[in-house]
């Protein structure tokens, strides 16, 4: 892929879009060899990656959160690390530690699992807040500070975290401020009967995940992100996003933050790219708004954040 790209002397944006879109389609197809159903969620995962965001998967145990995260991560040829969050996990278990090297007589930094292109944080809500915040700081800053020394995390960098909803009081729910740092929060839900049957057929014997090969390079991913960032966002679209956010702020206890609006536009750019367009249309915004915005809204009444968002989508005039 990298080779072909250098062959093209001066690709117009449109052809770049087409090529990038093809790569992204490849990734999705690859993931779907492992994951049965959940096409929309896979697309959402991919547009989040294109939008340079991190994803939080939340659902009951056993519906394939980790499998989805692994499948997406392993479709790229970059480094992939997995951290199982437990109540006794320490921040340094995530970020890494300085170790005294007997040979060189110096402390040297041994990077933790956060130093990878794709980090899977499993059951993130089981870890104590201090450890959670170490992860979230790394997500936001894309760097880690240990003993006063700052270490930059290699690019591209994406965290896919999962979170169980049935842990009850043994879990440390993520504070709103930290949930806000995830570009998207996705729910998988149970597969329907056909899908489950199909899934069973696939996983009996060797699990397909073991045979999964990368279909795109890190450079492809980085390039795709750059292309996505260049997707045109017209003024009408910016206005529309702003008005959606304003609606949630007026009609809920806590509305969508400006970071949420930025995230929405980035996700929409990814969606436009996936669709082979070099400009964002309101449909992109509407499709991305649900997973991007819902977890940023808190209501005081019996209305759920989802209700508020649906109202916003139904009543804010499409520009």
């Amino acid at each position: 892929m990298t080779d072909t790209e250098t062959d093209v002397p001066d690709p117009t944006l449109e052809s770049t879009i087409e090529e990038t879109s093809a790569v992204v389609e490849d990734v999705i197809e690859n993931v779907e060899t492992v994951i049965v159903g959940h096409h929309e969620e896979i697309e959402h995962m991919v547009t989040a990656l294109l939008g340079r965001g991190h994803v939080l998967l939340e659902d009951v145990p056993g519906v394939g959160k980790t499998m989805l995260a692994r499948a997406v991560a392993e479709s790229f040829d970059g480094s992939f690390k997995r951290v199982q969050f437990t109540p006794d996990l320490l921040p340094s278990d995530v970020t890494g530690v300085n170790i005294y090297n007997q040979k060189t007589q110096e402390f040297e930094f041994r990077p933790g699992p956060i130093f990878a292109n794709v980090v899977l944080g499993d059951e993130i809500n089981r870890a104590p807040p201090k450890t959670q915040s170490a992860l979230l700081e790394a997500m936001e800053e894309e760097q880690v500070t240990v003993d006063g020394e700052t270490h930059t995390i290699p690019q591209p960098f994406t965290v896919i975290a999962t979170q169980n909803t049935v842990e009850g009081d043994r879990a440390y729910d993520l504070p709103m401020a930290e949930v806000d740092r995830f570009l998207k929060k996705l729910h998988l839900g149970y597969p329907d009967a056909d899908e489950e049957t199909e899934m069973l057929a696939r996983v009996v014997g060797n699990h397909p995940i073991e045979r999964l090969e990368p279909v795109a390079s890190l450079a492809d991913l980085q390039h795709a992100r750059d292309v996505a960032a260049s997707v045109t966002v017209a003024e009408h679209i910016r206005l529309y996003a702003t008005e959606l956010a304003a609606y949630t702020r007026e009609n809920a206890q806590l509305g969508v933050s400006p970071r949420g609006t930025i995230s929405l536009l980035r996700a929409a750019q990814g969606r436009a790219l996936l669709d082979g367009r070099d400009y964002v249309i309101p449909d992109d915004i509407q499709t991305e708004a649900r997973p991007v915005l819902t977890h940023r809204i808190r209501t005081a009444t019996d209305r759920t954040p989802g209700d508020v968002l649906e109202d916003a989508l139904a009543s804010v005039e499409v520009r």
Binding site: T232, A234, H236, I237, E250, N251, R277, D278, Y279, V280, I281, P282, D283, Q286, T301, R303, D311, L313, A314, S315, V316, E317, V318
Partner: protein, 728 residues
């Protein structure tokens, strides 16, 4: 749930709602209260019409203002029961005051009877001291109507105000325009009031506005149409009404109308030893716009006929009806009636005769009159010492009579040394200074003033009305009298009287002599008009124009009386008049008194008066309704849209594509449904199953609008796609 709705209100709407609620008065309430004001205005203007005839309108306005102020104050503080109590007390006190003001105590039964007559169409102006009556009654309906309106009981307010106006409609005192204003106000009060109570928005009031406009326009159309198509019987003068219909056939009122025509039909034949003005009735009360006779007619035995003071000579007359008629002409002053139709004779309050029921052709009666034997000398010597009752009743003038009439009259008569000279001077002034014409536009406001200062020409009613007004400004008792001129003499003592012989003249009171007739209308042009009408009728073989006697004598003599100066020769002053039919024969002439085209035509000449306040108000209603109707029907919008849809003015590609897309949305909106807020174009097109060409156009627009890429080729494609879709 209400929380949710509030949340759903966009910021813009909330700002607007706040602006609307500023001052905490809803627009629908403002409209309802305006309708209430319109209703009050209608009632008040009727009351003004009654009071201004003989009283001080300022008192009425003071009372009305006080009532409205009190009602406004009461509405905020006092409960309905108390307010109704107050209103009842007001009415009772008013009625007691009115009864106390009457010269003698009336019987309760008589009062009830007279009230029934009022409801049957007798004008309030015909009751005694009508101005006091109006002032006594006025506060109650005004107070109650306004109190209820402010209180928010719009329907009840409409009931009270509308009921009051309805009473005046039944008595015939409300004019067409006043009635219309009142009815429209009632409808508006109920309509807007209902919306207000339901908390509806202003846009919901649009249908009400349309209905009101229709209410105003419809009666105008209906009343204009028949008059405009001028039924074939309305011949001659071109107007809808005959002289006869306007003056002689009326019961106890004379309404002054505009252009008028002449009826050549024979009404009756008279056998009498001398020719006289055949008089049918007199009128004492001048309203500025017409004449009313106060008091009631009673059978002969209740009010015996009496002869006038001074010297008289007896004159026997026999009248035979030739057509159905409802008047009993007689030479002044009838002292005895006998013969076939005499049983039905009644005596008016002014000493005239009238039949209780219609006379049929062939009915006849015999009248003995005591004709005043007056000479110029006796009249000049009569002095001016009038009885108080006569002076009070016959020098009344309406508030609308301007000072300049009195000023002009005083100037003209400055040299007159006695009443007789004054009367003669005025009579001659009118005869010489005004042209005789049947073709006139009914002036607005006071007729006498208009005839004197603005009009160049008129016919008998105008002359007579003006002369009475001028005399009254000088304190001389005078009254309007109507009847017939002697008619065509067919034998030594036989006269044939036709419709066009109907006439109006003046009677002036002379102490010691009684009522003496004077005729300010120039005789020659009037007779000429009548004769040419008769010739025309004969040429066209109209029926009922001739009797056996006249047919034998195709070239009859002129009316033998020197009308211009009846008092100079005592013989010339009296002649009985014959009644005319009420409905049948001259139907085309009679029916058009209201709704005359002249009412709606532009006034000719320099003095074009401004439309009245009521008309302005109704005009505003029509305008508002028309605007609301246009908006509602979207006619203007649709007309604009159809042009707009077919014409894309080319400019830069982006604008062109946007224009084509706007038109596409409009097309789809008409063919399917409008796009909802929050619905993207793609969702919309998918939902309505739009044509692929429509999708392509939307895609082009998407690229131009969101992608910022718009080329000339895209624009051309978009416009041609639109054209294809429009034809599809």
């Amino acid at each position: 749930m209400s929380v949710r709705r509030d949340e759903a209100t966009s910021a813009f709407e909330r700002v607007r709602a706040r602006a609307a609620s500023f001052g905490s008065v809803r627009p629908t309430r403002v409209l309802a209260l305006l309708a209430g004001v319109g209703l009050l205005g209608a009632v008040l203007s009727v009351l003004y019409g009654i009071v201004q005839v003989d009283g001080d309108p300022r008192a009425l306005f003071l009372l009305a203002g006080a009532s409205v102020l009190a009602a406004t104050a009461f509405a905020r503080t006092v409960r309905v029961v108390v307010a109704v109590g107050v209103a009842t007390v007001l009415l009772s006190v008013g009625m007691v005051l009115y009864v106390l003001s009457l010269p003698h105590d009336p019987q309760v039964v008589a009062m009830l009877e007279s009230n029934l007559k009022l409801l049957a169409g007798q004008s309030i102006l015909e009751i005694k001291r009508s101005e006091v009556w109006a002032l006594s009654v006025a506060p109650t309906p005004l107070f109650v109507t306004w109190y209820l309106s402010v209180r928010g009981w719009y329907s009840t307010a409409a009931l009270v105000g509308g009921g009051t106006l309805g009473y005046f409609v039944l008595t015939g005192d409300a004019t067409l325009v006043q009635t219309l204003l009142g009815v429209v106000s009632v409808a508006a009060l109920i309509g807007f009031g209902d919306l207000d109570r339901g908390g509806a928005s202003l846009s919901a009031a649009e249908p009400v506005a349309v209905v009101l406009a229709v209410m105003v326009v419809t009666p105008l159309l209906i009343s204009v149409t028949p008059a405009g198509s001028a039924s074939p019987l309305a011949l001659g003068g071109g107007g809808g009404t005959t002289v006869e219909a306007s003056i002689v056939e009326t019961d106890s009122e004379v309404e002054l109308v505009g252009s008028i025509s002449l009826s050549p039909e024979v009404r009756y034949t008279v056998t009498a030893s001398e020719s006289q003005y055949w008089r049918t009735s007199s009128f004492d009360r001048y309203t500025g716009e017409g004449w009313v006779r106060t008091g009631e007619s009673v059978p002969l035995d209740e009010r015996p006929l009496s002869s006038p003071p001074g010297e008289t000579r007896r004159l026997e007359q026999t009248f035979e009806a030739e057509a159905p008629i409802q008047t009993m002409p007689a030479a002044w002053r009838p002292v005895d009636v006998s013969g076939g139709a005499a049983d039905t004779a009644q005596v008016t309050s002014l000493g005239g005769l009238e039949p209780a029921e219609q006379l049929e052709p062939g009915d006849s009666y015999r009248v003995t009159s005591a004709v005043p034997d007056v000479t110029a000398e006796s009249l000049a010597a009569a002095g001016s010492d009038d009885p108080e009752a006569i002076r009070e009743q016959f020098t009344q003038l309406p508030e609308s009579a301007p000072e300049r009439v009195a000023g002009l009259t005083a100037n003209i008569t400055a040299d007159a040394s006695n009443r007789y000279e004054t009367v003669r001077t005025i009579e001659q002034y009118l005869e010489t200074n005004k042209e005789y014409s049947l073709d006139v536009d009914r002036p607005e406001g006071n007729v006498a003033d208009a005839f004197l200062f603005e009009m160049e020409a008129g016919y008998c009613t105008y002359y007579a009305t003006t002369m009475v007004t001028m005399l009254r400004t000088q304190g001389i008792p005078a009254r309007l009298t109507v009847g017939y001129v002697p008619g065509e003499q067919v034998d030594d003592n036989r006269y044939v009287v036709r419709g066009f012989d109907s006439h109006a003249w003046v009677e002036v009171y002379f102490p010691g002599q009684g009522w003496v007739p004077f005729d300010p209308t120039p005789a020659a042009p009037r007779e000429q008009a009548e004769r040419s009408r008769l010739d025309e009728a004969r040429a066209q073989n109209e029926t009922n124009v001739d009797t056996n006697e006249t047919a034998i004598q195709p070239n009859p003599g002129e009316t033998p009386l020197p009308e211009g100066d009846p008092a100079a020769s005592a013989e010339s002053t009296a002649t009985p008049a014959q009644p005319a039919n009420i409905s049948g024969v001259a139907g085309g002439d009679v029916g058009a008194i209201q709704g005359r085209p002249g009412e709606f035509e532009d006034q000719e000449g320099g003095s074009s008066p401004l439309p009245s306040r009521e008309r302005l108000a109704l005009g505003a209603v029509v305008l508002a309704g028309a605007v609301a109707g246009l908006r509602r029907s979207g006619l203007a919008d649709r007309a604009y849209r159809s042009v707009w849809l077919r014409h894309v003015r080319r400019s830069d590609p982006l604008t062109d594509i946007e224009a084509a897309f706007d038109r596409l949305l409009y097309l789809l909106e008409r063919r399917h449904r409008p796009r909802r807020e929050g619905e993207t174009v793609r969702q919309y097109l998918a939902d309505i199953g739009a044509d692929p060409r429509a999708r392509r156009l939307a895609e082009l627009r998407e690229r131009a609008y969101y992608g910022g890429v718009a080329t000339r080729e895209m624009a051309d494609e978009a416009v041609s796609l639109l054209e294809e879709l429009r034809e599809a």
